[in-house]
């Protein structure tokens, strides 16, 4: 009864979406007798249902669906929803248990734990190894391992990445030249560069700007955490954000902002932070790689054409940035898993990845980055090189691999804010770890 009420409420929310497309399920279709070897036409006549979020990547594949249908003889029903409705609709489909969806988009860093734990996803390992269903030209090894690993839980693959983002250190070349500093390679250099810029400008120019607004900060702080040798959780699944390494990272992150960063740091999310950098008020910013078009837009940015890019400086454990990605997954209740897998391979193929790359969607495939077509169009090889360097060493984890992600990020965000404000980081980190453990204990 209660579950029904909940479903009705969710359903009502989704029904208000103008994009709601009620699709009828078609029976398994005319599945051809499986012959040995790969065959695009193996599921001719089958109808598959794909659910996606309104994302620039979808604009790339939508006009090409007809090509896929011609290639395979399948029928594809593509339902597109704005992001918020998409998440709601996706949950409703899963909770109902009667969904006829076959393939959908998922951001593993956000939702994989929940979807795997609830048994909503089909493992892809069998399909990835199958001679019959793995397209010989697909080339799994071309996909950056960090991107593929983001979709792995307990040794099983659940998602295939369709794009790949990372975080980069962006710096203002003019300020660097004026101050006489070079790109920091280590965390110690990062601090001394920030300090020198801040002090030599008498506090007019901030050394660095970073996110400081609670939960939003954790997605960039996590790269400092990993580079200092810390982790969200230890091997027993208990909070590890109060380990000596983690405390050192949180302390360092807060100190950079407190001493050489904008005073408004605790209320800055990505928008405020990159705005300060784009106005030339800060010499460095560490944030998502996809903000390059913002930095380089001469209409909005005072620093366009003067920005350099680098991988996160080395900490005690090395340079460990993170990658985040959207991926495609197969619903565990799908009746057309193999057909869905053909669609996934086509949609994340080298050709489509390259097309996305040329349209500004950073690809998860090395071949797209190294292709001559992309290289000849590349306006910022420095960004490209830094991105590739980042992909190669990145960690696929940026959120703790648990269901209550937002709650854990909020708990840790409190400790980060405490560090920025110069409060007792050790005590704040212990408090955060205690809170996270309590949250996890209450999440059954």
């Amino acid at each position: 009864m209660r579950k029904t009420v909940f479903l009705l409420v969710l359903l009502a929310a989704v029904l208000t979406s103008p994009l709601f497309a009620g699709g009828k399920q078609e029976s398994a279709g005319t599945k051809k007798a499986a012959s040995a070897g790969f065959d695009w036409k193996a599921f001719e006549g089958t109808k598959i249902k794909i659910m996606v979020n309104k994302h620039p990547w979808v604009d790339i594949i939508k006009p090409k669906i007809a090509e896929f249908e011609a290639l395979t003889g399948m029928k594809v029903e593509l339902s597109i929803y704005p992001e918020d409705q998409f998440r709601t609709k996706r949950t409703v489909e899963m909770v109902s248990g009667t969904s006829d969806v076959d393939v959908f988009m998922l951001m593993p860093g956000n939702a994989l734990a929940q979807y795997v734990q609830s048994g909503w996803l089909a493992p892809l390992n069998g399909l990835m190894k199958s001679k019959q269903y793995l397209w010989p030209d697909y080339d799994l090894n071309d996909i950056y391992p960090a991107a593929l690993n983001a979709g792995v839980r307990e040794g099983k693959n659940y998602t295939v990445p369709l794009l790949l983002e990372t975080s980069l250190l962006a710096y203002n070349k003019d300020i660097f030249a004026k101050t006489g500093v070079t790109v920091p390679k280590t965390m110690a250099e990062l601090e001394s560069v920030a300090k020198k810029i801040y002090e030599s400008s008498n506090g007019d120019t901030y050394g660095i700007t970073l996110r400081g607004k609670k939960a939003s900060a954790t997605s960039q702080w996590v790269d400092f955490l990993h580079s200092f040798g810390g982790e969200w959780l230890d091997s027993n699944g208990k909070a590890a954000v109060d380990s000596p390494e983690a405390i050192a990272a949180t302390e360092f992150y807060g100190k950079l902002l407190r001493l050489y960063g904008p005073k408004s740091a605790p209320s800055n999310s990505w928008y405020e932070s990159i705005s300060i950098f784009m106005q030339g008020k800060a010499a460095m910013v560490y944030d998502a790689s996809v903000f390059k078009p913002n930095y380089e837009n001469p209409e909005k940015s005072a620093v366009s054409g003067k920005v350099g890019y680098a991988i996160i400086p080395k900490g005690p454990a090395g340079s460990i940035p993170h990658v985040s990605n959207w991926g495609l997954t197969i619903y565990s209740g799908s009746k057309h898993k193999e057909a869905g897998w053909l669609f996934i391979q086509w949609a994340t193929s080298k050709a489509i990845a390259l097309q996305g790359q040329l349209a500004g969607i950073p690809s998860a495939r090395a071949s797209a980055w190294s292709s001559p077509e992309f290289k000849s169009k590349d306006s910022s090889p420095e960004w490209t090189n830094a991105s590739i360097a980042s992909y190669k060493v990145a960690s696929p984890l940026w959120n703790p691999p648990v269901i209550p992600v937002g709650e854990c990020r909020d708990a840790m965000g409190s400790a980060i804010v405490a560090s920025i404000l110069g409060q007792d980081v050790k005590a704040a980190s212990r408090e955060a770890a205690k809170t996270i453990d309590k949250i996890l204990a209450n999440s059954k």
Binding site: K213, P262, S264, S267, I276, E407
Partner: protein, 286 residues
């Protein structure tokens, strides 16, 4: 028989009200006795009064209560004080009164989210105009929304900017409709203008002030849009009021049972404040 027939006429309205008002409240009360972690995909299970007991030791809950009280008292206090003073000022004839009155009413017409976005920008330490003005008159710039000590005053200033005119409007219309005889007899008796205001005007408009305060207090206690847009409860939880905590518990953390528990607490507080104000008002009127 006749008596019964007349009840059937209000029945449709009664049924509708039961469905849209009573059911959500009762269902919410029922849910507040459950643990329901929606993100796990499992249904709610019975938890008795343990949600309420857990709140007693929840620091974030007490923080949200503290924020709610400080914000409400601060906003309501400044709005009533400034609103009544302005109403007394406008309660006379002078040239351009209507134009100035109209300008004063603009903030009420503005969308709270737009107001919050613009004030958020103005408060920004590095990019905002308020610090530019502070520096221009020789004062040090403030962190405003980034400073746990200043964030609530900053929110109160914005709230007061938007809603003081409402108090002004209610009190002024009441002032303008007051009978003139008491004032005339006071003048004859030789009362000075301060005495007139304190002993005649204010007592006469007190019911109107209380009504205005009632409307504003409900809004201030359950303020959401302003805080959500400007600070999202930050820095950390320094400006997270009860309503924002409910939102986080329910829609960020998906803990519907606990969110229902918090909602019941908020509901109780709003009801209590209003019963209190209603009692004061009725005591004065009768």
């Amino acid at each position: 028989m006749k008596n019964r027939v007349r009840y059937t006429f209000i029945l449709p309205a009664l049924i509708l009200m039961t469905i849209i008002v009573a059911f959500p409240i009762i269902y919410n009360l029922y849910m507040s006795l459950h643990i329901w972690f929606v993100a796990s995909g499992s249904g709610p299970h019975w938890n008795g009064l343990k949600n309420y007991i857990a709140l007693l030791s929840d620091k974030r809950f007490w923080n949200s209560i503290r924020v709610t009280i400080i914000f409400t008292v601060g906003a309501l206090g400044s709005e009533v004080l400034i609103g009544v003073l302005l109403a007394l000022f406008f309660n006379r004839q002078f040239k351009g009164k209507d134009i100035i009155k109209t300008i004063f009413l603009f903030p009420i017409a503005a969308t709270p989210v737009a107001v919050a976005l613009i004030w958020g920008m103005m408060y920004n330490y590095d990019l905002g105009i308020i610090n530019v003005l502070l520096k221009a008159i020789g004062l040090p710039p403030l962190l405003w929304l980034a400073d746990p000590k200043w964030v609530i005053p900053a929110l109160i200033i914005t709230d007061a900017w938007q809603w003081t005119p409402l108090i002004l409007l209610i009190v002024l219309s009441n002032l303008e409709s007051l009978p003139t005889d008491p004032f005339e007899s006071a003048k004859v008796d030789g009362a000075n203008s301060l005495q007139v205001i304190l002993y005649i005007t204010l007592p006469m408009v007190k019911p109107a002030i209380i009504v205005a305060a009632m409307i504003r207090s409900i809004d201030a206690i359950k303020t959401f849009d302003l805080i959500y847009v400007m600070t999202q409860g930050g820095p950390d939880i320094a400006s997270e009021n009860l309503n924002l905590y409910i939102f986080n518990m329910g829609f960020s953390y998906f803990r519907m049972g606990m969110a229902s528990t918090l909602a019941i607490v908020l509901f109780t507080i709003v009801m209590a404040v209003n019963v209190f104000l209603a009692v004061i008002r009725n005591r004065d009127v009768t």
